[in-house]
């Protein structure tokens, strides 16, 4: 008989993996209740396919893969429908006067200027991080999803585009717009 490399024991899941999965979810969707629900859904979905677990990866890796799928589902739902138009429009509006319409030059009002971004003082960094978090939360759901997948999970552009159903060219436009707003938000709130 061939013994499996990895065993599966659902009765131990909560004790061993619940906090890990919760942390994984909440850092990506920033909503406690939704993160909790996702952990529960992950375990229940996993129970249904326990017999398909082949032991090729560890129990944790396997559970995380299921959760990851569910998170992308949340991203998709958040960024489709009516709300998307409103939040994207608002964000696009914010940067509508960053550049001169005729030649694309920075407008004087919105030109980047140096600000305390290079400080290495941990206290300053702490304050900066809290501004950064607020600025991230102001981004439209779709933009934040794309940005998070890229910067947290280092997902390839191809994967992000196919999972969130955006074209490559739209992807680059969104990355550009996200950074324009994020940088402007930091400058505005720091100075």
């Amino acid at each position: 008989m061939i013994t499996k490399t990895h065993q599966i024991e659902p009765r131990n899941w909560v004790a061993i993996h619940a906090d890990y999965l919760y942390t994984y979810a909440i850092t990506r969707i920033n909503d406690e209740e939704q993160a909790r629900d996702l952990v529960q859904e992950t375990f229940l979905a996993a129970l249904e396919k326990v017999d398909k677990f082949e032991g090729k990866s560890s129990e944790r890796t396997w559970l995380t893969a299921i959760l990851k799928y569910k998170i992308i589902d949340v991203y998709r739902k958040k960024s489709s429908g009516l709300v998307i138009n409103a939040d994207v429009q608002r964000a696009e509006q914010e940067q509508s006067d960053f550049f001169e319409p005729e030649d694309g030059h920075w407008t004087s009002e919105h030109s980047p200027i140096t600000f305390g971004i290079d400080e290495h003082d941990p206290l300053v960094n702490k304050e900066f991080n809290s501004i950064l978090q607020k600025c991230l939360q102001k981004l439209p759901a779709l933009w934040l999803s794309i940005f998070t997948m890229k910067h947290m999970d280092d997902q390839t552009t191809d994967i992000i585009c196919s999972e969130l159903k955006v074209t490559q060219s739209n992807f680059w436009v969104i990355i550009h717009r996200t950074k324009l707003n994020l940088r402007a938000c930091l400058q505005k709130n720091w100075i």
């Binding site: 909560v14 619940a18 550049f99 140096t114 680059w172």
Partner: protein
């Protein structure tokens, strides 16, 4: 305006190329256009410096968040455990 002149004056295009270059690839032609633009535009040089820094800070923020384990409350865990046991006993 010729295409070269266009990029040397266009900060919107230049910042787009800066972002694309940061996480993807730009063509050799775009690379040259961007170099020329940055040579003559101090505002975009500030932008380039800051946007790189922001990407680093965001990555750091995300990895710090991942490394600080959050805890589910015990009641929720207990309910979840019961639910799993129930499902297992069904079969």
């Amino acid at each position: 305006m010729g295409p070269l002149k266009k990029i040397t004056h266009n900060c919107h295009k230049a910042t787009f190329l800066i972002e694309k270059k940061l996480i993807g690839r730009i063509t050799l032609r775009e690379e040259i256009e961007l170099k020329i633009h940055l040579f003559g535009c101090s505002i975009c040089r500030v932008y380039q410096h800051q946007t790189k820094k922001i990407a680093e800070m965001v990555r750091q923020l995300f990895s710090d968040a991942l490394n600080t384990e959050k805890h589910l409350d015990e009641t929720f865990k207990k309910d979840l455990q019961d639910r799993i046991e129930d499902e297992l006993d069904k079969n």
